[in-house]
Symmetry: D2
Subunit: 113 residues, 4 copies
C-alpha cells in the first residue's frame, strides 16, 4: 500500500469515528458550541489527525426546532459540517463532510504529497 492510500484510510477512520461517536447526542442552540469543541478535540486525539473543525449549522437547527414542540433535537449529519486535515508520512489529506441531496456525504477534497 502506498502512503497516499494509507493517508486516505486514516482520514476515513476519523470521519466514521466522529460521526458514529456523536450521532444521537442531544443538541440545542445553547449546547452547540461545547459540542463542536468537544468533537474537534476528541477526534484530534487520534493518530495522524492534524486538525478537525466542526460547525453546527445554526440555521438548520433553528428550523428543526421551529417545527417541533421540543427545545432540543439529536445530532445528525443535517446539523453539521466537518473539515479535517490528516497527515500520514509526507502526505496531507483534506476531507469534508456536508449535506448533498439530503445525505451527509464524507468526501476527499485533496491528497497532496
Amino acid at each position: 500500500m502506498t502512503d497516499p492510500q494509507q493517508a486516505c484510510f486514516e482520514a476515513g477512520i476519523k470521519f466514521g469515528s466522529l460521526y458514529h461517536q456523536f450521532a444521537g447526542t442531544p443538541l440545542s442552540p445553547d449546547s452547540a458550541d461545547s459540542l463542536e469543541r468537544a468533537m474537534s478535540e476528541a477526534i484530534e486525539n487520534q493518530p495522524h489527525c492534524e486538525s478537525v473543525t466542526v460547525s453546527i449549522l445554526g440555521d438548520a437547527l433553528a428550523e428543526e426546532l421551529a417545527n417541533s414542540t421540543a427545545d432540543y433535537t439529536e445530532l445528525t449529519g443535517r446539523f453539521m459540517e466537518v473539515e479535517m486535515r490528516i497527515r500520514y508520512e509526507d502526505v496531507t489529506v483534506e476531507t469534508r463532510m456536508e449535506m448533498e441531496e439530503g445525505y451527509p456525504l464524507m468526501k476527499l477534497v485533496s491528497v497532496v504529497e
Copy 2:
C-alpha cells in the same frame, strides 16, 4: 405511578444516555475539559434535567497513559464522576456515578418531595 417513581425513572434515563452516548470517545488530558462541558450541556437538554456535572478524573487518566504507548485512551466509567439533579413535578432527585470495586456504579443519592 407516583411522582417520585417518575422522577427516578427520568434520572435513570439521563444516566444511561450520558454513559452510552459518550463511552468510547477518544480522551486525553488536553481534551478533557471540552468533553466534560459538552457532556454536561448535552444531557442538560433532556427533559426534567436541572444540572449535570461531569468530572474527568485526571489522576486515573494520567495513570492509564503512563502505562501506555498511546497518548490518548477511550472514555469509560473509570475516568469520570458524574452528578445530576433531576426535577419532576415537585420531586428533586440527586444521583451520582462513581467507581465501586472496579465498576462504574450509578446510584440514587436522594429523592426529596
Copy 3:
C-alpha cells in the same frame, strides 16, 4: 430510597443505554432482525433487566426509504418500539418506548410490588 424508586431508576438506565448506544446504527429492512436481537440481548446483560423486546417498525422504515435515494437509514426512535421488564428486589417495573407526537417517549407502564 424505596425499592420501587430504585427499580424505576434502574429501568430508566436501561432505556437511556439502549437508545444512545444504538441510535445512529445503519439500518435497512435486511438488517432489522439482527439489530433487534442484538439490542435486546445486549441490554438484558445489564443488572436487574429481566427482558427487553425491540421491534423495528417495518412500515415506518419502508416509508422512509421510499422517500430516499439511499437504501438504508440510521436508527432513531421513529423506527422502533421497545418494551422492558425490570426487577429490583420484589418490585417489577414494566416500561415502554413509542412515538408520541413525533417524539420517542420512554414511559413507565406499571410498578408492581
Copy 4:
C-alpha cells in the same frame, strides 16, 4: 483523487463507524453471537461495503469475566477481530482490525485494482 485512494477512504469510514457505533455495548458470552451478526449487517448497509466479518474473541472475554465480579463487560477492541472488504469502482480493499501491543489497530491488508 484516484480510485484506490477513494476506496481506502471508504474502507476507513466503515472501520471508524463500526468501532465507535458499537464500542461500549454490554457484552457477555450469551450475547456475543447476536452482536457479531448485527455489527456485520449494519455496516454492510453502508455504500461500497461488500462484506464485514466480526469475531468476538471468546477467550479474551472469558478471561475478562473470570477476573470480574460482573457477568458482562463492555465491548472494546480487545474483544473482537474484524475483517472487511470494500469495493469502489474497480478497486477492492481488504482491511483488518486486531490487537497489536494492547491496542486495536485498523489496517489495510490489500488494495487491488
